[in-house]
Every structure is written in C-alpha cells, then in structure tokens.
C-alpha cells in the first residue's frame, strides 16, 4: 500500500486555503473597513469642526467693542422677536390641541429635535451627503428627518458613535411623498443627479393634471405627514414647470430647491418620540 504523502497535496491545500480566505475573508475585511473607516475618520472630522468653531470664535474676538455691542443689541432684538413668535406659536398650539381633542382626532406624531453641526459635505453628480457631529451619543436614529430654516435637508442613513450620515434631498436615492401647498393630493418627490454649478434641483411626479405651474406663478412643494417620516408643511422647493408624464394623465416637473442647501452649517434632526415624552410637536 502506497504511503500517504501530505506534501503532495500541499499545492491543493494552499489553493483551497486561498479560496477560503478570498471568499470568507474579503467580505469580513470589507465590512470591517466600511464600519471602522467612518469611526476612525470621525475624530479628525470632529476635531476639524471644533477647530473651525474656535477659529470663528477668535475671529469674532478681534471685533471692536462697538461692533460687539451692536451685535449684542441686534441679538437682543432678535431674541425678543423670537419670544413673541414662540408665545404666538404656543397659543396656536394650545388652540390646535383643544380643537383636536374636541374632534377626537388621533394625536400627531411628535418629534424631539437635535441641532447638529455639519462637519463634512460629500457632493457628487450621483449622491449628496453630509455628515453631522451627532450620532448614537445623542440617540439619533436611521431614517430620521433632517430639516433647516429653508425646509427639508434629507434623511439620516447611517448613525455612528459620534457622527451621522445624512442623505441630502438632492440625492437620487432620496424619495419622499409630498404635496403641493393647499392641495392634499400626494405626489412623489425624488432627487436627481446634480450638475456641478447648477442650483440644487429634484423632480416631482404623479402630479394631477389640473395643477398648473409657471415661472410667473410657481407652486410650492411641501412635505406631507402621510409617510410618517416628516411633519406636514415643511418646504421642499418650488415648481415652475410641469409637463405631461408618460401615463398621459399625471404630470412631472423639476423642483427648484433652496440654494442654501449647498452651504449648510447646522441642521436639525427630528427624532420621533415615544408617546408621552415632552417634545416639540410638528
């Protein structure tokens, strides 16, 4: 009987081992790198952002006392204005709640908001993404709506330990249900590939045929609460041109978004709340 010689099978074993590493190791490494990449990089981004803040602080320190006093006065005026608006908002909110209770309407979805600093922007033709300086440490969740003073910013797609990634409203992967102001019928908004120097834009489809839009009379596209992600009434953009879609009955058109989306410094993340938690109601 021939003696079994292991060394004859060495090349085969080596090949098998190589394939095993290739098949199993590669996805593991990829996954590890993908997860750790952001986490490893995040501290440097966060540090850069803090340094930016510090630079801003020192730049302001160099202002003269007169300028600072003027700015302080302006701030006081703004604060006073916001106090009045806040009071008016609370009164309206109370009235709304009273009417809702009277009509036995179901409660609206409530959100807590987290203001977060933008620390990185990734803009290309195919996606638009920003990274903010808050993550799991602030209980940010995937899918949460992100807004700013001009309306919708996007949606949280990934949450890391100290940072979160947000898919911008301009991204072709971003799609939400929307409605036109004063028209309850739902339509679909979706981002589009962006040109380098053009204003941010997206597209709207499933628009009923009776709606008209022109450059002299653009119509405003706002969020609807039907989808559950966004509160109703937040601005998405304006539509000044609609054309018949391929169905022959619905229209589609371009949505002009707020140009400030390209220079965001701070955003608010709306984290849905469990019932009974104190919150700002949208």
């Amino acid at each position: 009987m021939a003696k079994f010689r292991l060394d004859r099978y060495k090349p085969l074993l080596a090949l098998g081992l190589f394939f095993a590493v290739w098949w199993i190791g590669k996805p593991l490494v990829q996954s590890f790198l993908q997860i750790s990449f952001t986490e490893f990089q995040a501290p440097s981004w966060v540090a850069t952002s803090h340094l930016d803040g510090l630079a801003g602080f020192w730049a302001r320190r160099s202002h003269s006392k007169v300028e600072l006093i003027e700015a302080g006065k302006e701030l006081e005026r703004e604060n006073a204005r916001y106090q009045i608006m806040r009071q008016r908002y609370r009164t309206l909110e109370d009235e709304l709640s009273r009417l809702e209770a009277m009509l036995e309407m179901p409660g609206r979805r409530e959100f807590r908001h987290e203001i977060a600093r933008v620390i990185r922007r990734e803009q290309s033709a195919w996606w638009g993404r920003i990274i903010v300086r808050k993550g799991r440490n602030y209980d940010i969740r995937v899918g949460a709506a992100v807004v700013f003073a001009g309306g919708v910013v996007g949606r949280v797609t990934e949450v890391h330990a100290y940072t979160s990634e947000i898919d911008l409203i301009t991204s072709p992967d971003f799609r939400i249900a929307a409605q036109f102001e004063d028209d309850p019928r739902p339509v679909i908004y979706q981002g589009l590939p962006q040109d380098g120097f053009a204003k941010p834009h997206g597209e709207v489809r499933d628009v009923p045929q009776d709606l008209l839009a022109s450059s002299s009379q653009p119509i405003k596209l706002v969020t609807t609460s039907l989808g559950g992600t966004f509160p109703a009434g937040l601005s998405i953009g304006t539509v000044d041109w609609l054309q018949p879609g391929s169905s022959g009955i619905f229209q589609s058109g371009a949505v002009q978004l707020d140009p400030r989306l390209l220079q965001l410094r701070e955003v608010a993340i709306l984290v849905p709340l469990e019932a009974g938690t104190h919150s700002h109601v949208f």
Binding site: P172, D173, R175, I176, P186, G227, T229, G248, I249, F250
Partner: protein
C-alpha cells in the same frame, strides 16, 4: 498545360464534378441573393415577430363637466405596488437552486434506503421559488403598509404566461397613506425592484349626485381590432369602458387614445431594450347640460324617497337636472364594484334609473293632454261646463272624482285647478280614445325621447283599441277611455317624457328633444325639436294656461308650489301603481315657469314605498318642484324674470 487540365478536358467524371460543383455554388449564391436582397422584407418580419413585443396602454378617459365647468367625473390616481419579473430573474435563479437543494435533501431523508428515490418535480419547484421571492417582497410591503396581501400562484402563472412584459401587481388599491409610506420607506429602483405604479381610476367629486345620469365604468380587455395586425405579440392593459349613463353613451368621445411601447426581448421573452414609445392621450372632455346646483336641490328635496325629478330648458331641451332615487355613491364603484356593494345597491333597487328606465301611469298630469285633445277636437271650449257631483256613470260602472261631494259646476280652468275627474271623464268619452291617443302620440308619449342615455325604456303605452286587442285580448270599453282621460288605466310614461311634454306645452309645440350635452348659443338658436305647433288658438291656450296657473294658485291642488313673484303653470297628479305586488301611490307634479316667458320645465314623480304611505301630487311632489324653481331663481334670476321690474 498541366496534368490536371488534361483530366479536366478529357475525364468525363472530373467534368461532371466540375459542373455539379459550379451549379451548387451558383445555387448557394442565388440562394444568398434571394434571402439577402429579395426576401429581406419577409425575414425582417419574422425577426420582428420573434424579438419584438408591443405593450398597449389605454389612454385615460376624458373628464365630464357640468354646464358651468364644474368637474362631475374626473380621474384620480390609483396606486399600486408592482414588480417587473425581469428584475427578479437573478433572485428567482438563486431561490430555485435553494429550493432544489432543500427538495433533494428532503427526498434523501425520506427515501434513504430506497434504491430508486423519486426525482423532484422541477417545474413545480421553479414556481415555488418564484412564489417565495414574490412573497418576500409582498411581506416587505405588508410590513410597511400594514396590509396582509398574499401572492396567488394562479395569478402569477397567468401573468408569466400572458403578460410577462407588464408589471405584476403585488398590492393593489393602495390608500394615499400607504402610497406615501411606501414611497418613503422603500428605496427607489434599482435599489429595490418594487415600483410604485400610478394609474387612474374614475373619481366623482359629487358622490351620488346625478349618479344614474353620469353612469359608471368597468375595466375590460381591449377589442381584437384595437391590436395592430402585424404579427408582433402584444400585451395589453385593461381598458375602461362606460357601462351605464353618459359614460356609456359618450364612450367613444371620452375614451383616450392608447399609448404604445415596443420592446426588443431576449430569447426568454424578458424586455431588453425599448425601441418605441408613444404616450397615451386622454380622451376628450364632455360638457354636459346638467347644472349640479339644480341637481343637488332636486336630490336633497327627494331625500330618501323613491322617485325621479327632471328639469329641462324649455327652449333648447337641455336637461338641467335628471335625478333618480334611491341612488348610490359612484365612488364606491371605482375602480371596481365590490360584490357586497353590488348586492347592497341591488337590494335597495337603486341600480334602476327611474327617470328613464321605468314607466308609470302619469295620473292627472295627463289631463293636460286630454284638455288639449278636447280643445283641438272641439269638445272643449271656453264655454264648456260640467257638473261634478263626485261620480260619473259609464255604463254600469261608477267612476269617482277625488272630491267625494264633487266640484260643482266647473269649466276647463276650474277642472284643471281642482283636477276634476268628472270633467275629463265626460270630455274624454265625448272625443273617444282614438282622438285622445292621437294627441298623446303627437306629444311623443309612445316613444322613447332619444336622450343620450342607454336603456331608455320602450315599455311606453299610449293605449288604442288595436293595442288592447293585440296585447290584452278583450275589446275596448268606454271605461278604458274614461280611465285613460285621467291618466290611469293602461297609460305608461317616464318622468323624462312628462318633462319633455311639459316643455313642449310651454313652447306651444308637440315635441321636445332632450339632450344632456351643453349646447352652444349658435346651436341653441338653430335647434329643431322635430315637432309641430300644437295648434291651439290664443283663447284656447289662455284657458289652458290659466287653469295651470290656478293649480299653483291659492285654491289649486299645487298651492304648495307657490313662489311669490313667480308665475308658475303646473299640474299635479296622483296615480295608483302596482309595485312588488302592492298597490302604491304615485305623486306627480309637472310645470313650467315663468308663464310670461317659459324657461324651465320640471317633472317630479315620487313613488310610495308601500301601501301604507299616502302620497299626493300637490303635497308630496310639489315641494320638490318648488325647490327646483327656487334654485333656478337663485341661479338664473334674470332668465326667471327676477328682480321684478316695477313700471
């Protein structure tokens, strides 16, 4: 000269081979020429048939508006979640190999000792794999929308075999919230194969108003002649056709133009490249003559009662209102009629359009025709008087008036005012059934009006001696004439017919051609209703109209219809009718206004639900007509003579 040349010239076998080879080469060349140049078209066609597929998509239907441009029937989005099976092929393959492995394992475990284990049924396993993949996606949709849809094997097979290029619906009739949630929670294609498909379904902003007149639609397979006969395999979406009402009558006008896509497909029949796209076009819009405010007034006044109300523009014949109760909310029938909804409507008898599809005895409203016949025949004139004692003897039979003690001595105007049966028994018997029938026929009461509504009844009866002999048997007796002269007996008409007859009387003509289309002012000027002048002398017309005005006067049977400052000519009627084996009352009111320049003619009929309900023309149907007149004044004050100009 080579050695071979000698062979070629001298060896007959070589020569034969040479010529045969030459002929074969020539044959091949000719064949190539034939196929490439001459038969190219035919081969192109074969190739086209093999690699091209057509998708036909019907265009949306046109909208229907009322005469003031308000949307009565439109199209609303109809959402569904769909997948193209082509997008799922890699998953089908993956799942198939999993399913096969699992099946083999199971067989091995069950038949581990058997020398000849059974083979798995591969065809079934393939369907199982497809079902599994689809159910996973449906579960994903269910999780987002809260529905509990399931994939159907039969539907999947049918779709695979017959509609491979069309999207397979996974969840139909999504509510707007479900549509919105899917749009937000599902990643857009190509990251997810699930697409949100938006189609159209009919939408009725006014719900049940004018339901019978507007009609509903049904989806059906397209006709064979709509598919181009060029051999390319065609997939078609269902098209929507009008089933009843205006939707049916104006189906061609409202139907959109189909759009078309031509796709190049791979050998398995899945789409590869789109070669052509022709978008569908919406059908033409239709502006109807209906005034939805008047329609609402009529239907509100009818309430829960069984009946019909029609209002017509006296001059043009445009139907302003055509209501039938009980009705149904048309939105419940769109995009399809659920079985329980069908049964519920059926149980209430609401499918029937009582304004045109059922015929009823007109009761005393017919006395106007008897009066006209009498005036034209000469048996009635300004001096005609009849003494009503409450009864009238015809042979051995006693015919009663509705006033037990009689009206006393009445002339034509008073007889119309008080709806005196005895007066009309006497004059009807005097002129005879032939004259009476002839006049009723002159007003078209024996024929459908020809309105653009389907299924207008042909069961219309203006009895004659011949008619009775041929349909019932026994000969005509004077009692039949007496009954006919007060609108009872065998007479059967529709509420629409009575409205057109009223409009004709108002215009002094015998016919009114009703239409549901809004007419342009030019067309309205040239309108020809196809009748003739009634032929009453002015004095005769005055007596008749005076009687009609007195009906709506202080002592008339239709006094509840009175409206200050509006002169209305009317006639009430109460008839007996057999419905569902029970004798029930029918309450009628017909009339027109303003008398000075008639603009609107109305006919209202209300049917008692059972024998216990005692309905009367003046008190039951009259108020409905009054509401119609009031709404007409509100909507068209100038045409109705308002505000009153003081001299």
């Amino acid at each position: 000269m080579s050695e071979f040349d000698i062979h070629r010239r001298e060896n007959p076998r070589i020569l034969l081979l040479f010529w045969v080879s030459l002929a074969a080469a020539l044959f091949l060349v000719l064949g190539l020429v034939w196929r490439q140049l001459i038969a190219k078209e035919a081969f192109d066609q074969i190739e086209k048939r093999q690699i091209e597929r057509r998708i036909l998509k019907p265009g949306p239907r046109g909208n229907i508006y009322d005469r003031e441009g308000r949307l009565l029937v439109g199209n609303r989005p109809h959402y569904s979640a769909v997948v193209y099976l082509d997008d799922l092929r890699p998953e089908f393959r993956k799942e198939y190999s999993k399913v096969i492995k699992h099946a083999r394992k199971e067989i091995a475990e069950t038949h581990n000792l058997s020398s000849n284990p059974p083979k798995p049924n591969y065809a079934n396993l393939q369907w199982d794999a497809r079902m599994n993949v689809l159910q996973r996606y449906i579960d994903q949709i269910n999780a987002i929308t809260g529905r509990s849809d399931k994939v159907s094997r039969t539907k999947l097979k049918r779709h695979f075999n017959e509609q491979l290029l069309l999207p397979l619906p996974l969840a139909l009739d999504l509510a707007p919230e479900q549509y919105a949630r899917l749009a937000e929670k599902l990643p857009p294609p190509p990251r997810s194969p699930i697409r949100i498909h938006t189609d159209t379904a009919r939408y009725y902003p006014y719900g049940s108003l004018a339901a019978h007149a507007l009609g509903y639609v049904q989806s059906t397979d397209p006709d064979a002649e709509e598919i181009p006969d060029d051999g390319i395999k065609t997939f078609t979406y269902k098209k929507i056709v009008g089933k009843t009402g205006i939707e049916r009558s104006f189906n061609d006008h409202l139907t959109g133009k189909s759009g078309m896509e031509i796709w190049r497909v791979d050998p398995l029949g899945f789409q590869d490249t789109r070669l052509q796209l022709v978008p569908p076009k919406q059908g033409d819009n239709l502006i109807t003559s209906i005034d939805i405010d008047l329609q609402r007034a009529a239907e509100t006044a009818l309430g829960e009662r069984i009946g019909a109300a029609v209002a017509i523009d006296v001059q043009t014949g445009e139907v302003l209102t055509i209501a039938s109760h009980p009705g149904y909310d048309l939105n419940r029938l769109s995009p399809y009629i659920p079985r329980n909804t069908f049964d519920e409507i059926n149980q209430r008898g609401a499918w029937l359009d009582r304004s045109v599809q059922l015929s009823y005895p007109p009761g005393s409203t017919f006395k106007l025709i008897t009066a006209i016949a009498g005036l034209l025949d000469g048996v009635i004139d300004a001096n005609s008087r009849e003494h009503c004692t409450g009864v009238h003897r015809v042979g051995n039979r006693i015919f009663r008036c509705h006033v037990r003690n009689g009206h006393g001595v009445v002339d034509l105007s008073a007889a119309i005012e008080g709806s005196c049966n005895v007066f009309f028994y006497a004059r009807g018997l005097q002129m005879g059934i032939d004259t009476l029938s002839e006049q009723a026929k002159r007003f078209g009461l024996d024929q459908p009006t020809g309105i653009e509504l389907p299924f207008e009844t042909r069961r219309l009866v203006v009895p004659t001696k011949e008619w009775k002999r041929s349909t019932i048997g026994p000969g005509w007796v004077p009692g039949d004439t007496a009954n006919t002269s007060i609108g009872q007996g065998f007479l059967l008409v529709t509420p629409l017919q009575m409205a057109t007859a009223t409009a004709s009387i108002a215009r002094g003509e015998t016919r009114t051609r009703p239409t549901l289309q809004a007419l342009s002012s030019d067309t309205a000027q040239k309108i020809d209703h196809g009748g003739e002048k009634i032929g009453l002398r002015p004095e005769e017309k005055r007596i008749l109209w005076e009687g009609m005005e007195r009906v709506v006067g202080r002592r008339g049977t239709g006094r509840l219809v009175q409206i200050p400052d509006l002169r209305i000519a009317g006639k009430t009627g109460t008839a007996d009718f057999r419905a569902h084996g029970e004798e029930v009352n029918l309450a009628w009111f017909i009339g027109f206004a303003p008398i000075e320049n008639p603009k609107i003619a109305v006919a209202v009929m209300i049917q008692g639900a059972d024998a216990s309900q005692s309905y009367h023309g003046g008190s039951t149907a009259g108020p409905v007509a009054k509401d119609l007149f009031l709404e007409a004044i509100k909507k068209y004050p100038e045409r109705m003579g308002f505000p009153i100009k003081s001299d």
